[in-house]
């Protein structure tokens, strides 16, 4: 009997919450907006479909006229060819993969932690220099990287960072985008919470780790996506010269560049390089959740 009443209450609750969710929504509005979402969604996603289909196309289908979006007789030849080429690689492919995984993992963790650490005081406190620093960070986003590449290279070579992982890691960790993103989310954390933590004897570092980070979870999850994506695709061009230290996207681009006969292999490479960021993206995105609601905090 208890079970039954439990079920009844949970259904009731679900119904009430559904009603709550649908408040201020009209069916016509819902339908037309869903339609809009669908049309633009198709427009947006079709290259992804194109890449997936192309990877399974035999060579003659890639060059068919008129061009077709969907594969007619799917094959794994492109992947098999790719693995044969990889097997002949002078530096083993596992080494390239290690380089990329290492750079991406350390770089992403570093970006999130160091960026958030700096974002917290800049977003929540007033102290000498804070305003100037925040302004510099926003402004720096507007200076184009093309002309700073040269001074950057000179600095890195003076610091003996050229041809090491550092040349990719440190500039990425010092990137301002992540910090700017974190600042804009941390501003929203209620001051009362920080005050309460202080009364409980927490120092700034504890507040950062135990209050600010959990409450800006959806922001740093977004930052993980952005940082992961940019580091994953890096080729190390201009700063990494030793073959053994090069990232996997460089190795794969070399394979692809070998000419038109590699078109099939190229589409397999595109798909493989895309799969990992997509998986990371989907896992992260489903974790972007309402932090204020789950902790029950309001100002």
């Amino acid at each position: 009997m208890r079970n039954v009443s439990n079920i009844v209450t949970s259904i009731k609750r679900a119904y009430i919450s559904r009603q709550f969710k649908r408040r201020n929504r009209s069916i016509m509005g819902d339908m037309s907006l869903t339609f809009l979402l669908g049309i633009f969604g198709l427009f947006s996603v079709w290259p992804l479909i194109f890449i997936i289909n192309n990877a399974f196309k035999p060579l003659n289908e890639i060059f068919i006229f008129p061009p077709k979006l969907f594969v007619m007789s799917p094959t794994l030849t492109n992947f098999q060819d790719l693995f044969i080429i990889i097997g002949n690689s002078w530096v083993p492919m596992t080494r390239y993969i290690f380089n990329t995984v290492f750079i991406t993992a350390i770089g992403t963790v570093g970006t999130v932690i160091i960026g958030s650490m700096a974002a917290f005081p800049l977003a929540k406190y007033v102290f000498p220099g804070a305003k100037t620093m925040s302004k510099l960070i926003v402004y720096s986003l507007m200076f184009n990287g093309t002309v700073t590449a040269l001074p950057n290279y000179i600095i890195m070579s003076k610091l003996h960072m050229i041809d090491t992982y550092w040349a990719l890691l440190l500039p990425s960790i010092g990137g301002t985008l992540g910090l700017f993103l974190m600042m804009n989310f941390m501003v929203q954390v209620p001051d009362a919470l920080i005050e309460a933590a202080k009364i409980d004897g927490a120092n700034e570092f504890t507040i950062f780790w135990k209050v600010m980070m959990p409450l800006s979870r959806s922001a740093w999850i977004t930052l993980i996506i952005l940082s992961f994506q940019s580091l994953w695709g890096t080729t190390g061009g201009g700063v990494i010269f030793t073959e053994k230290l090069k990232p996997v996207s460089y190795a794969l681009s070399q394979i692809v560049n070998a000419g038109i006969a590699r078109t099939g292999v190229a589409s397999a490479v595109t798909l493989i390089m895309l799969v990992v960021p997509v998986v990371v993206f989907v896992i992260s995105q489903s974790n972007v959740i309402s932090t204020m609601a789950t902790t029950g905090i309001k100002e």
Binding site: G115, N144, V147, N203, F205, T222, S286, V288
Partner: protein
Amino acid sequence: MLTNQPITRRRSLAKLWKEHGAKYLLILPFALLFIVFTVIPVITSMIISFTSFNMLEAPSFVGFRNYINLVVNDDIFLIAVKNTLFFALITGPISYLMCFVFSWLINELTPKVRAVMTLVFYAPSISGNAYLIWKLIFSSDMYGYANSWLLRLGFITEPILFFDKKEYVFPILILVQLWLSLGVSFLAFIAGLQNVDKTLYEAGNIDGIKNRWQELWYITLPSMRPQLLFGAVMQITASFSVSQLSIELAGFPSVEYSGHTILTHLHDYGFIRYEMGYASAIATILFFTMLFTNIVVQKALRRVGA
């Protein structure tokens, strides 16, 4: 009096450290990297913009000559400025609205569906150079998808040379840029919408909010002002910084400079002619243009929902 000054100064420093030391420590690691990899290079570039520097000989100081040449003598730069402003004026606001509208619509979905739909809209940005696909679509021969479809449907009798005709280049670049525009701001909006206090909607309902549009204007938008400001900065930089797209699709130089932007001009002087002084002057002008736009836009955004 005079002897006292250093002491009070030291004392105030000590006081500053006691009050705010932990904050400075939190910022320190980032600040070091920021100064070394951003501040110093940017300042160096700005100084180089007052020199003539070909990367082989030492730079020689020329004062404002680069700037004067740009504005007075460089006709192509003026075309680039015109194109860039026009481009930014169209893609900036539209892309900003798109980012918001789509994140707002997606936010109504259940978490799993939301994650998938976010991927669907973010797809163009996730695969680094997916925009090259547009090159296939607008390819000039019959193998191009657009030409192939138009031919089959009977709209045209011979393939259009999309990137060789002035009137096609600019609209295509705008189309592709808009297609690419659901990036960082879009994700920030998705995350920001999640953080809007749900009880505000309940309270709003009691206060007489009738439909989703009022809800949007009076509750949602004001609640995510920081994200809106963030998105504005991102879309401004993106819409002013088009170069790779133009070079890859329209070629360089594009036909009659129809796809020429401030950044492709910079690319020309920085990577082809190696005139770093001139290139740095272009970067500095672009920087101040964006800064000015940003100040105007931020002022306007502060009025949202108010």
